[in-house]
């Protein structure tokens, strides 16, 4: 290990809370979102326990409704949205492009404080009794009828939105202005392309959800008629505003993980990525088309039938670039040198689960089947395959891949592989039965349900308990590795990319001298060697 690195360059609580080092800020985020993940996970556990039996016998209905609301609010706004970008993106965007830091280090720190303040508002809302509107805050229930802490939660979400705007804006400027000499756009790692596309969505989408939430607040506090028809408003307007952000937000959650997967697959296949420019441009295509599909959440909302048809075909179009990515990742393994270290296990898990999540999305883009499936457990299963099977698998894969870089130490590999298997199995057992429940017609957000749905719900809860074990194991061995792990060295995986060319953990300024890039990304095969082999 290097004698001085970013972790020990400075000591004391002040050196962390006032740091402008993107790597330390990444760790601040890592700590915060891990706490939020544990909290959201506890809510999920409570939900699954309640659903073991058809009768609503563990919690009161009101409390059950608060549990699924807070599970959604915490997991989406305080875990999934910041997960890969704010932790791995923060750590790696400057390192991958050979920069000393992000373009605006103090704004980067500010984003963490904004996130924390938003998080505190939400935690206070929970402590004060919670909120029961669903994470979607549909009006007029949220604006007029709910008697819970809607305002505190809304303020929390509103504030936290600004942290993603700040992060997105920082990434875009950094990627434009601070690339190392020779690092042209088409030499960038795909992780950077994914974060660039994500940042565009964050900047363009987040203000709209902030506006929607602010309008709910105006109606709630001052009875200005915006959404409630009794006050002269239009309840469906809220859904348009909300999904205009919240559908693209799905891509905020998945695109960065896709970037992680591109890095891992190439490294553990020791091979250039198949179809670099197709993967890069598919991220941009997803970001752009993703803004035009929000109405597919509203096929039965009273939205015009013809609007539904337009949103349906646009939703199908956004599926194509995702399919292209999956095919390219798979093709990257073809004739590669594949090793099964734990990051690769997560990446392969991601490909499988994301494929299922994406394909089941087609059922919901298809108008006639969505009429039946809308607001059932099929939707719940679908988006958990994308969010948990996709985004979290990618996040965990990334954490395992870059952990040696972040901490300077290796974790116990057998445990990591075991955890990956447990998560994969537990995940499928939890969420696959929910597809069947959904087609059978079990509505989501049901505290009590008819008896015939019990067997599938018991399977799902059993899966959730396995999944919980799977998530607990990495938490333990990663912390353990900080002290007892084997020293990793600068590049334990034999990976390509600028972040592997400096020490682990890196020095505060990342690189002793500015690196110069002379080759494309993922050149595992040295130039010149080609001629010899052929």
């Amino acid at each position: 290990m290097p004698r001085v690195h970013y972790l020990n360059a400075d000591y004391g609580i002040r050196s962390w809370l006032l740091t402008t080092d993107h790597k330390r800020i990444a760790l601040l985020y890592l700590g915060s979102i891990t706490l939020m993940f544990v909290l959201g996970g506890l809510f999920a556990t409570a939900i699954r326990l309640e659903l073991l039996t058809p009768a609503g016998d563990l919690f009161e209905s009101e409390n059950y409704n608060k549990l699924f609301t807070m599970h959604g609010v915490i997991m989406i706004f305080f875990f999934l949205i910041p997960s890969v970008p704010a932790v791995l993106g923060n750590f790696l965007v400057p390192m991958m492009i050979g920069a000393r830091d992000l373009a605006f280090p103090r704004i980067n720190l500010l984003s963490w404080y904004v996130y924390t303040v938003g998080g505190l508002f939400t935690l206070v809302a929970i402590a004060a009794g919670g909120v029961d509107t669903g994470w979607t805050f549909y009006t007029p229930y949220s604006s007029t009828y709910s008697n819970t802490n809607v305002m505190l939660t809304a303020v929390g979400v509103f504030i936290t939105g600004f942290s993603s705007i700040l992060t997105g804006f920082n990434f875009i400027i950094t990627i434009h202005k601070m690339r190392a000499p020779g690092l042209t756009w088409f030499r960038l790692p795909l992780f950077i392309w994914a974060h660039y596309a994500t940042s565009v969505i964050m900047i363009l989408g987040t203000p709209v959800v902030a506006i929607a939430i602010a309008l709910v607040g105006l109606e709630r506090l001052f009875h200005i008629g915006i959404f409630d028809p009794k006050l002269g408003g239009d309840p469906v307007l809220f859904q348009h505003l909300f999904w205009f952000y919240s559908h693209p937000a799905v891509y905020i959650m998945i695109l960065p993980s896709m970037g992680v997967i591109s890095e891992i697959i190439t490294c553990f296949s020791r091979k250039k990525v198949f179809g670099y420019s197709f993967i890069a441009f598919s991220s941009v295509a997803i970001a752009l088309i993703g803004f035009l599909v929000w109405g597919h959440h509203m096929f039965v909302s009273s939205q015009s039938m013809y609007a539904g048809m337009v949103f349906s075909i646009l939703s199908f179009l956004v599926a194509i670039p995702s399919a292209v990515k999956v095919f390219n990742w798979t093709a990257t393994m073809y004739k590669g040198s594949v090793s099964y270290q734990s990051p690769m296990m997560y990446a392969m898990g991601f490909i499988g689960l994301f494929t299922m999540g994406g394909l089941t999305g087609l059922f919901l883009s298809t108008l006639a089947t969505d009429v039946h499936l809308h607001d059932t457990y099929f939707v719940v299963a679908h988006f958990h395959y994308i969010m948990v099977g996709g985004a979290i698998m990618g996040y965990l894969g990334g954490i395992h891949y870059w952990w040696p870089k972040i901490s300077g130490r290796m974790y116990p590999e057998p445990w990591a592989r075991l955890a990956a298997w447990i998560i994969f199995i537990g995940f499928n057992l939890t969420f696959f039965p929910q597809f069947i429940l959904g087609y059978l017609g079990m509505p989501r957000r049901y505290h009590a349900y008819p008896d015939e749905f019990q067997v599938l719900n018991v399977l799902s809860t059993a899966g959730a308990s396995i999944l919980a074990v799977g998530y607990a194991i990495p938490l333990i061995y990663l912390v353990w590795s900080l002290r007892y792990g084997r020293v990793a060295g600068p590049n334990p995986w034999g990976a390509k990319g600028l972040e592997w060319e400096t020490a682990s953990p890196p020095p505060t300024y990342n690189f002793p001298e500015t690196p110069v890039v002379t080759e494309e990304a993922y050149e595992y095969y040295p130039k010149g060697a080609e001629a010899e082999v052929v």
């Binding site: 209905s61 420019s277 194509i320 040198s337 494929t355 087609y439 008819p450």
Partner: protein, 327 residues
């Protein structure tokens, strides 16, 4: 084939795997569902197999192994963009065609009125029978529900019929179905509506036509919807302005339903149920050309169910005037 598959799935003992098919659209939706499931299964198996095969076939055999780079293949990129595009276009057109069918009620449908509120469903039959959290319908007859909510958004969902429609405050939405098999089926509220959302459930009872006639006869009906509407029309003094001859302050409501109405502000609007409802509750929103905005609102005076009765009465005025009756 769809029918055989669904029958097979339903026949599995133990865990239920497939919902009942009890409406005229159910098997059509299921056929599309099986197509989607087929495509999904094919690509899931394909991707899983390729990943496993490549992982094993090309596993790292020595630490210094260095595979040849492959830059990509334009042909393959085109192939795996165009084939999925073709498959999803089939989904789109099939789904949109069926959606059109699911959304457009046949003109001979029997109209029932539904009011959702936290946390119950209130249903009015044309002959005056009322039900709460239950809906009795005959087999084989198209039923159209005109629905609204008294408070928050609800959603009327009958899984066995494969139909669902949100029920909104402040406007009417429509849902139709033709039940095909007698039995009892779940009625769910599918849009989260507050504390007792999961208790906002009921059942749809599909009866053979004779059983249905017996049920109608055995249920206390009182006035028909039209009669109730006519009574309310007097009770709320609607007639003093709307039936006062050529000098009346409000337009005659005979023959208004289903027509296009010229508005004071210019333009025209189709006088459907939604327009009539709006004109009762927010009379000044779209005033008829030639009249002044003098009508008071009936918001708070007339309940949603009463508004529906008045509308049923107004619709009957159009029929009685020798218009094409709705069969």
């Amino acid at each position: 084939m769809s029918a055989a598959l669904s029958a097979f799935l339903q026949s599995q003992p133990g865990i239920p795997l497939f919902p009942d098919q009890a409406s005229s659209v159910a098997d059509k939706v299921d056929a599309l569902y099986f197509y989607l499931t087929g495509v999904t299964a094919f690509f899931t198996v394909l991707i899983f197999s390729l990943v496993f095969y490549f992982a094993i076939r090309y596993r790292r055999r020595s630490e210094d192994e260095l595979p040849q780079p492959i830059h990509g293949s334009l042909k393959l990129e085109i192939l795996w963009s165009v084939i999925p595009l073709g498959l999803v276009l089939v989904m789109f057109f099939w789904g949109a065609w069926l959606f059109y069918h699911i959304r457009r009620a046949p003109s001979d449908a029997t109209q029932l009125y539904v009011v959702g509120k936290q946390w119950m469903w209130k249903i009015q039959h044309p002959d005056g029978q009322r039900e709460i959290n239950e809906l009795h319908v005959p087999v084989g007859r198209p039923i159209k529900l005109t629905m609204t909510s008294e408070d928050v958004i609800h959603s009327f969902f009958v899984p066995a019929f494969r139909v669902k429609m949100d029920v909104l405050p402040g406007r009417y939405t429509e849902l139709w179905f033709t039940a095909t098999r007698p039995g009892e089926y779940h009625l769910f509220c599918a849009e989260y509506c507050g504390t007792k959302h999961s208790a906002m459930i009921g059942r749809v009872v599909v009866l053979e036509p004779t059983d249905y006639e017996n049920w109608l006869a055995g249920s206390p009906a009182g006035e028909t919807l039209e009669q109730a509407g006519a009574r309310l029309f007097r009770q709320f003094n609607c007639h003093t302005c709307h039936e006062a001859g050529p000098t009346s302050r409000g337009p005659s409501l005979h023959e208004v339903f289903g027509k296009r109405v010229q508005l004071k502000t210019g333009g025209a609007v189709a006088a459907d149920e939604g327009y009539l409802r709006e004109s009762i509750l927010q009379p000044n929103a779209k005033v008829v050309a030639g009249y002044e905005p003098v009508m008071p609102t009936y918001q708070g005076l007339a309940s949603e169910e009463q508004v529906m009765q008045i509308i049923a009465y107004l619709k009957s005025l159009t029929r009685q005037e020798g218009q094409v009756p709705q069969p």
